[in-house]
Amino acid sequence: MTTIGGKKREKIDRLAELAARDEERGVSLWQDAFRRLRRNPAAIIGAVILTIFVLVALIGPFLVPYGPTDTMGIREGLIKPGVIPGSSSEHWFGYDHQGRDVFSRMIVGARQTLLVGVVATLIGLAVGVLIGGVAGAAAGLGGRWGRWVDSTLMRFIDMLLALPSLLLAVSIAALLGPSLTTVMIAVGMVSVPVFARLLRGSMIAQSNSDYVLAATSLGVRKSKIAVAHVLPNSLAPVIVQATLTLATAIIEAAALSFLGLGNPDSATPEWGVMLADAQQYLGIRPELAIYPAVAIIITALGFTLLGESMREALDPKLRK
């Protein structure tokens, strides 16, 4: 099989070795992006926030000082009309209107919040990638028929996009009846158009690239090109968007809970529900609203910081 003359081969080998020397470190695209991510302070801050958040959500409920549904304040007669005791050394964040320990409820609520955010984003991602992927592949690689498939799917996406996101979520939640699953589905559906459009656009752009032409010129089938070549190249912006969507999903889930469309069992602590409950007592204990609000903001900020940094790290224009 070896067909090049010995001497020439040696020469070529030597030259190639020289050319390859400074590229010794074997890194993939993702490793490369990760390296750049680590150098970005915003990414570090985001990652630290999220790590703490996830740790709290996972192991926090086992470490809380009081039961989150224990109405000890009422039992001990501390809660009277117009009086809610503030923070103390035993109860760091004080009591809520039903005499429950707010600190414990905050920590246990993190788990619900994370669960809703992640599941909602996954639902949106799955549906969006499916629709956007089919539309993108059809528009980019299919012929006349492909364009028809693409425009049909995209008109459906446009319909979803035409409604304000919160209104859409409220309608879906109202349609399915208030429950945690409803919140997840509603918030997920709201993010579907973003994922679908993003992936479709990315795939169409990639379909015009030289490597698709090269693969076509080697006789590779269209379906294989779509799945093995175009899709992996188009996913980066979608993954970044998923991180950013986690932030909005948490906010939207809180908003739905705030509107009373969340978990009907209000005893289960959830930041949005806590925020909704606190609004009646803003005159007495405004900090009851501030704790969950700040927690939601910080978590959303963590996801946003990490997402934006990932967008930068994965940007092919910045890649050498």
Partner: protein, 371 residues
Amino acid sequence: MALLDVEDLSVTFARRGQRTVRAVDGVSFSVNAGEVVGLVGESGCGKSVTSLAIMGLLPKQPGLQVSGKAVFDGTDLLQIDDRSRRDIRGRDVAMIFQDPLSSLNPVVPIGLQVTEVLTRHRGMRGEAAAKEAAQLLDRVGIPDPKRRLKEYPHQLSGGMRQRALIAMAVACQPRLLIADEPTTALDVTIQAQILELLKDLVQDSGTALVMITHDLGVVAGMCDTINVLYGGRVVETARRRPLFRQPRHPYTVGLLGSVPRLDAGRGERLNPIPGSVRDLLPWPDGCAFAPRCDRRVDACIGEPPELVLTHDGRSYRCVNPAPLPGLTPGDEVRTAVPGPATPGSVPAQAVPDEPPAVPGLAAAPSEEETP
């Protein structure tokens, strides 16, 4: 019979509200098995569109019209259905592109991209495919092929990427290889290596090669037969040696004359062809090159010049071709273009009826052309 016979190939792009562009206008040429044929011309003369049309890779859009014939081994590549075209691509006819970085998928390791072709056309899978892929990389001169298979395109140098692409193209030992400016994106030292590699592959396997380039140095070093394109038509066809010794079409003369020379004096100016490709006359109105031509005569305008076949097997499309040096030395003084401008400065008494160069041999022109 030739391996590939392109006959009267025309490609037009029509867009509503825009001028119809005739990118390729009746191009004919043929490629014999084992032969290296060059398509030469400036940017925009239709070289790449010709190759894409032959491969059926032109973007399917309304307004695209391809006519003529491209007969490969008895089948007209322009007439077959998509399925058989996909079968032929990569197996019988393969193509190498200009930019090796963008022609490789950035997020897929090299190995997968090579085995993909093997799986598609030779039904190889798993271990066998990986082994064959390593052998292919080895064959095109990539050291440590086993490791390279797992690497991504951005980890390879430009030359290695082009080698990997060549490996993919020759994976099924195609009978025809089309190289569309394979060395344009590489630096000069790597260019030479890649050209050597292509030459070796072609000589060893008897693959025919269509070399598309604007680089006359590449042509001089590799091609057996050369077709010079201008404005979508072939304006001159000749074997390599006669073309460099005695270019007949003024455009070829201008192309050769515009190659910078190392032995030129310091103050000497470069010799570009005046004007640009955009200044062309539509062929029906005369010779497309006439607006830029310094041998223009009245007969150039009015109707397109016919293809003139000369007794030594070459042809040109010109009513007032450059004179053969040695026969009419006086003409050399009269023309502003420095006659046969091969940098090695061809002796004036060159024999006009020199037999065509033996393919693959004759290193002389390449030394003359690449200073």
